[in-house]
Symmetry: C2
Subunit: 391 residues, 2 copies
């Protein structure tokens, strides 16, 4: 029987079946949850609120973030150790991993999806890679001053036209690099203020804002009118006058734009600042439970959800943007590190690191609808980011 | 040799290969082009600017539109003949087709992706279907007045919370139906003005606007403050005073929101109206080549692209939103019916019905980068719509 060709044939057929690819499925409702301590990501399905599989071997994932390929099939995970890991969400495999720096703080993907850009602390600068192969295409050191020093880079965000905006912590600059021809990057430099520590672009890609750690205010660049240079806004909002100790640097990528208002964490204060995007003046301050870290708008802008620094990192507060008041306080677990809304905002996923869980909330009722287990979960990222500007 | 088991085995293996599903791929860069006369759609890839396959048997596709499943795998095509066709973009097959009305004018999908809603002229009303099975879940006739008459429904748009806003052409009303429990739909009614002919919601899902054919102005409903009712805006913009003959009803879904401004076709005029979304007052009028039909914002809001009614339907004009002036006029072919931007706006696809082609333009250079053949193409729809509010 061993040599029976029919049996052989069946074995071959079965082998063929076994090596068939994963089942066909759309990628629009997928995402990753970072398991920071395990160097692993969970691949999740936001339609079924389910974990599909886990992918390991991604290295040091403390402070990790992710962007997605244009087709939504691949996640690119940027690790603190300077590695970029390309994960296939459909097959649940690690396709490639390259270590491109000693200390990295995230990345972005170009408007056309062809370039992946990493922002590095050490050595300071940005690097561009082919999104398909992860081959290095451009190395742009963040040199500044006379002695060829290199600055840490923070606040990297994609702009239309395969351009990228970012800030130089040590140099006090905002830079925009045009990578539409990666072999000949063009960089514009703008004096920004002392120690920009993070940045964001508005959802239309027009305004780039950098938070300043070294002075009392923020730096604003209108990328449609770069010739006007950087404008200082919110000078004297309180960062400088006897600031509270800062337990955790707020994440400005978490700044929330809702209608004509931007909501941002007041560094060191138990407040969220409300800024009018027409005048760029502060129009309100909302007292909150503690020092806010992520301040995120529900996609329709009707609510803002915020988490807090230690020791109040077990709370999330929900703010009504019509009244600019806290309407509800929830407790999603110990050490809430991140939250991510589903593409059209019916749900929000919240990670609680020290409870090893991710909770899905219905944003209409503010009640949990599902709980998923995860080992020390931190960042949560959904593929819908691939279709947005400034992530 | 015929009876050789090894050959048999190879044949079986090949058969196995042939019956394998389509190759795995992400769905984030897919879309459909309506071939209106052929009752067919092309499935296209916006990363490669390529036609992947064609799917036929969809019926009367004049004035057809499409929405997408939450995962981006399926397109739901709404035909003028009242049919909904569910097309699998990954396998290139027609999964199901139901005829649900005699005369239909498009549809929408709920925030959570579970409900598909059609807006019907005949019989007038909306109907909700299970997005997976296309089973009817709710039938909501648009009754009005004393005699149980039914109005044509236009301008259907999804709102957060599985609600839908739409307008009743004959009844002069805007209605919002809450379908969060499809077995018990809840409908609110608002007097809107004479003959609303189309509508849209702003990208955040807050404001619903209906164009009025029967009077000189538009109806605005703030869905965050529905108790305030409908407010008439732009009264006297010119619709009423000796209007030009209207060659083609403008599509308000084409209204463009860029920053704090809405750009909308001035019905009957060779103008685009610019409206400030803070005051809802007209702040400018941009003279254009002819009567505008679709007035679309590039996703970053930096440019507006508009096409025109017959006999000027061979032109597209590009407007700079900083200066609110036409900056370029292009000729993408005869009978330009629609245009669709790629998710982050690096390209725009433009259909030219009478030249049987779709041209892809680079939005930075305004030059064509690819041309695809299509038989009498009309609407173009990309899967990124699945992640947006109000489509």
């Amino acid at each position: 029987m061993k040599n029976n060709p029919i049996v052989l044939c069946l074995i071959l057929l079965l082998a063929g079946c076994a090596s068939q690819p994963a089942a066909l499925r759309g990628s629009g409702d997928l995402g990753v949850v970072i398991e920071r301590a395990a160097g692993r990501v969970e691949i999740v399905d936001t339609s079924k609120n389910a974990i599909l599989t886990k992918v390991s071997g991604l290295g040091d994932l403390s402070h990790a973030s992710a962007v997605f390929s244009r087709d939504g099939r691949y996640a690119y995970v940027f690790g603190r150790d300077g590695a970029i890991s390309k994960v296939d969400l459909l097959t649940g495999t690690l396709v490639k991993r390259v270590v491109q720096a000693g200390n990295s703080i995230g990345g972005a993907i170009s408007q056309d999806g062809k370039l992946l850009v990493a922002q590095n602390y050490e050595p300071g600068g940005i690097k561009a890679f082919d999104a398909q192969t992860l081959d290095l295409l451009a190395d742009i050191p963040a040199y500044y001053g006379q002695e060829g020093k290199r600055s840490k880079v923070v606040g990297l965000a994609d702009l239309p036209g395969n351009r990228f905006a970012y800030a130089l912590f040590d140099a006090g600059e905002i830079r925009i690099t045009d990578l539409s021809d990666p072999a000949h990057p063009q960089t514009q430099k703008f004096a920004a203020g002392k120690q920009p520590y993070d940045g964001l672009v508005t959802p239309d890609g027009r305004y780039y804002l950098a938070g300043l750690f070294g002075e009392d205010g923020l730096a604003l660049l209108d990328t449609w009118k770069p010739e006007q240079g950087v404008r200082k806004i919110l000078s004297g909002y309180g960062r400088g006058e006897q600031p509270l100790p800062v337990y955790k640097m707020p994440h400005l990528r978490g700044w929330a734009v809702a209608g004509n208002k931007i909501y941002l964490p007041a560094i060191g204060h138990h407040e969220i600042l409300v800024v009018d995007t027409r005048s760029w003046q502060e129009i309100d301050r909302i007292p909150v439970k503690s020092q806010p870290v992520f301040v995120m708008a529900r996609p329709d802008g009707r609510e803002i959800w915020a988490n807090f620094a230690f020791p109040d990192n077990g709370y999330v507060q929900i703010i009504d943007t019509l009244r600019d008041q806290v309407m509800e306080t929830i407790e999603p677990g110990r050490a809430v590190l991140h939250l991510e809304f589903t593409p059209r905002g019916e749900s929000v996923w919240i990670s609680a690191r020290d409870d090893n869980k991710v909770t899905v909330y219905d944003t209409r009722t503010h009640r949990p609808t599902a709980t998923l287990s995860a080992e020390s979960p931190s960042g949560i990222f959904f593929t819908s980011r691939a279709a947005r500007i400034g992530f």
